[in-house]
Each structure stands twice: as structure tokens, then as C-alpha cells.
Amino acid sequence: MKKLIILFSVLSVLLFVRPLLFSTTISPDFNNTSVTVTNTPKADEEAFYSDAFKGINQFYHYTGFANAKWGNIIMILIGIIFIYLGIKYDYEPLLLIPIGAGVILGNIPFVPGNQTGIYEAGSVFNYLYFGVVKGIYPPLIFLGIGAMTDFSSLIANPKLMLLGAAAQIGVFATFLGALYLGFNLPEAGAIGIIGGADGPTAIFLSSKLANGVNLLPDGTTVKNLIGPIAIAAYSYMALVPVIQPPLMRLLVNKEDRKIKMKPPRAVSQKEKMIFPVVALLLTTFISPSALPLLGMLFFGNLLKESGRTERLADTARTKLIDIVTILLGVTVGASTQADIFITKDSMLIFGLGAISFVIATMGGLLFAKFMNLFLKGNNKINPLIGAAGVSAVPDSARVVHAEALKSDPSNYLLMHAMAPNVSGVIGSAIAAGIILSFLG
């Protein structure tokens, strides 16, 4: 009925613009839903106009202009900034542009109750958001990542795997920090994983722990922190080139930055095929809760390395991951609806996220220096690659490479840095599994 009135009023506006200019009486009673449609032949012009105005007024109250709050406008501006950063500075445009567009979509003001918003059951966005809330998208992303990742540098030099573990200190330190700030255990666990620097893992864990559905032991429900956590994780991943270099310069002296590592040995195809199977078995037996992530990651890698399923691997690493990235980006962006997103918690999460990145980077760098104490001669590792232990594939590896080039233009660390980088992905997924098994 309401919609009929709206339609009618729009038509009347189009046909009779004149009364808009001359009439001065606007009925304030726009909420009156029992308006009779003036299509009876006896209705005179006055009644017709007043009803039309009621319709227009009501239409106005359905528009974004009437419902806009400051929060919405601020968030829309943030969305535009995201898009601008993605286009102008090329900061992870594949993520920032969908998320930026999503932030705008999620913050268009609307009248609640018409199945419009992402948090209203039955709306289209709500259905797409389902993939985030139930943690469906992250494993699919991991499938694609597995199908793109070359683990050979890791197989050639397995000890670099420990750097990926060292960077997970960031996860657990942030977890503790969040507890100190008064978050509940599950919420703190979800916030901590930002330090894993892995967007899909962060979304997966927060969708399991801080989804606004689970009950706490004291009977209250946890807060829905998926939006802030995902945005924080992805923003800091995009900001890796800003956050990491100062820490590298602070913690690694000039001599160490010039260490050249011996080139990794050639890895046979057989080893590459065995890696996903063995790694899958070992890691998931240790941390079964991370099964959706690690299982898909190594399955994707097996598709790539088996040599027989190039078609599947190709789809997984191109079309499939693109589709899921689009859906994930837009829905995560749209989940930042101002009335739910702009809270004190979100600000705390952003602060904790930055700290966790710093701690994770420092953990990796310091552990690399520590490992160097036990390594001799040309087996020594360049401590810079420890910073790549935070996953953020492949940005942190690139940052390490660029930083090493600054101190020695002939020192190419990219291949070496990829090893802790991919082991960071495995490490953060295991960490997520552990947190989930403790708190889930």
C-alpha cells in the first residue's frame, strides 16, 4: 500500500508540478498510512493535491537525505578515501576498491524494515553477507592462494618456517592486550588474529568467535566485530609498506641488512607434490579447527603441483578467487554500517591492530637475529626476511626485498622472503585453529 502511494505521488509530481510551486499547506501528518488514494472520479483538486503532497513528503522521508546521519556521511567519505587510495596510490586496489564501494553501499541511509540493509534478514546483501558470517568465503580464498603459491623456497630452506611461527607472537600478544582492554575471551581471540596479517583468516576466526550470535558463559551474546576486524586487517595489510620499513631499520643494523643469502637449491617436482599432502596431514592433525583454511590451502597447492589438474588450479587462482574477492570485499565493506561500526570498540580494534602488526614484525625480525646466532658462514640468514613472517602475501616479502635493495643494490631477497611469508600464512591459520579450539 505504501509503495502504491509512493508510485502515485511520483506520478502526480510528474503530471502536476505546478501545485508544488504555489501551494503553501503541507500536511505534517506524513505517517498516516490510511491515506485513501484519490482516484475516485468525485475527488476534487484540493484533496488530490494534499494527498499528493503527503505522498511526496513520505517519499522524502524514505530518501537518503532525510535519513542521513553524521555517521553515514563520515563512513561514505571513508569509502571514497579507500577508493581514492586504491586508484591513486595503488594500495592493494583489488581489495580497497571493492571494500570502499562496499562501505558506500552499506552506509546509504535507508528506512529500516524494508529488507534493504546488510543486517536485515532477507535482504540481498544479507544473503551475500552469509558467506562472511558463516566463514564460507575465506576457505575459498585460501583455495586460490594455495593454487598460486609456490612453496619451493620453503621446501629448499625449511628452517625459515620458524620465522612464520615467530611472527605469530603478534597474534597472541594482541589477544592479551585485548583482554586487558576489557574484551571478552572470544572477542579478544578474534581481535588478536589481526596480527596474523591475513584477511581471510581474520574473517574466518571473527565469524566463528565474534559474530554477534554466540553466547558467552555469563549469558550475554558476543559483539559482532567482523566488520571492524576485517577492515582493520585489510587496511593494515595495505599499509605494510608504511609500517614495516621503520621497524626494520630500527631493529636490524646496517651490517646485517647486507647479508647475502646463498641461493636456494633446486626443488624437484616430486618434493613439491609431496609438500601439500604432508603439510596438510601434519598441520591439520595438530590443529583440526583450522581444517577449512589449511585444507583448502594445501588442496589448492596440490591442484597446482600435481601437474594433472592445471585446469582446476587455473580456475581456482583466477576466476574463483576473483569472484570470492569481489563478494568478500563488497560485503565486508557494507558491513561497516555506521550505527554498528562507529563505536568505541572499533577504535580500540584499530589501535590494537596497529600494535599487533608492529609486534608481529618485531617478533619475526628478532627471531631471525636469534636464529643467526646458531648459523655459521654463508648459512646465515638476512634478519630482514623475518619481517616477512607476518603473512600479508606477497606485500611484506616485497617490502623486505625493497628494503634490502636500499642497503645493497645487488642483494635480492624476494625468493628468500617468500619462504617465511608463506609459512606465515600456515602459521596464522594454525594460530587461528588453536584460538578456535580454546574458545570456540
Partner: protein, 120 residues
């Protein structure tokens, strides 16, 4: 009071998760790296033995002369190989002959027929 108790309890649980979590992550990746450092080479070596038999040392390989295989056959094979390897590009006759394939004039290529029989 209950709140404070809950809080401290939460913190202690937090520390438990912190320590165990880190230890487990380290152990997991350590096992993985140890496997690939030491386990995998052994496995690949065993696989090789199973599929191809034990690697023999040079002195273990018996030199058996084939009576049928004379020096002439060896010379013929090596000559054939030599000729084959040196003839990556075979020499072609450099003389070009241009062969007239068809008549210079034919009603099919004559314009005069086309001009008079225009499609109306």
C-alpha cells in the same frame, strides 16, 4: 567482586592460551620444517631404492663384452651419428626454377567477359 574474579580468571586463561598457543604454533612449524629438512630426503631416497634398486658403485658394475659387437659396428654407428649430428640443415639445390603453372591468358582472368556481362 564477581566481576573482578571473572576478569582475573579471564586474564589467567588468556596467559594459558598465549603460552600454549605459541608453543603449539612453534611445534607445528618445527615438525614441518624438520620433516622437510630430514624426513623427506630419506623418504625420497627410499622411494628411489624401491623403484630403481640400490644405486651401484662403478666398480660393482661388471664389464661384459658382447662378442657380436665388433669395432666395425661401432664405427658404423658413430659415423651415422656423426653424419646425423652434422646434418641439422640439409643442403638444398640453390638453383631456382620458375615453372609456369598456367597460361598467361585465360577466359577466367579476362576482364572483357566481366565487363560485358554485368549483373543487372
Amino acid at each position: 567482586m564477581a566481576n573482578i574474579l571473572l576478569f582475573t580468571d579471564q586474564m589467567s586463561q588468556g596467559y594459558t592460551i598465549l603460552i600454549t598457543g605459541l608453543v603449539i604454533v612453534f611445534c607445528a612449524l618445527l615438525t614441518l620444517s624438520l620433516f622437510f629438512q630430514h624426513g623427506l630426503p630419506v623418504m625420497l631416497y627410499l622411494y628411489k631404492i624401491i623403484t630403481k634398486g640400490r644405486e651401484k658403485k662403478i666398480k660393482d658394475i661388471k664389464v661384459e663384452a658382447d662378442k657380436e659387437f665388433t669395432g666395425e659396428i661401432a664405427a658404423a654407428i658413430s659415423l651415422a651419428l656423426h653424419m646425423y649430428l652434422n646434418e641439422q640443415h640439409d643442403n638444398e639445390n640453390a638453383v631456382l626454377t620458375i615453372k609456369q603453372a598456367r597460361k598467361l591468358y585465360s577466359p577466367w582472368s579476362s576482364k572483357i567477359y566481366g565487363i560485358q556481362n554485368r549483373i543487372k
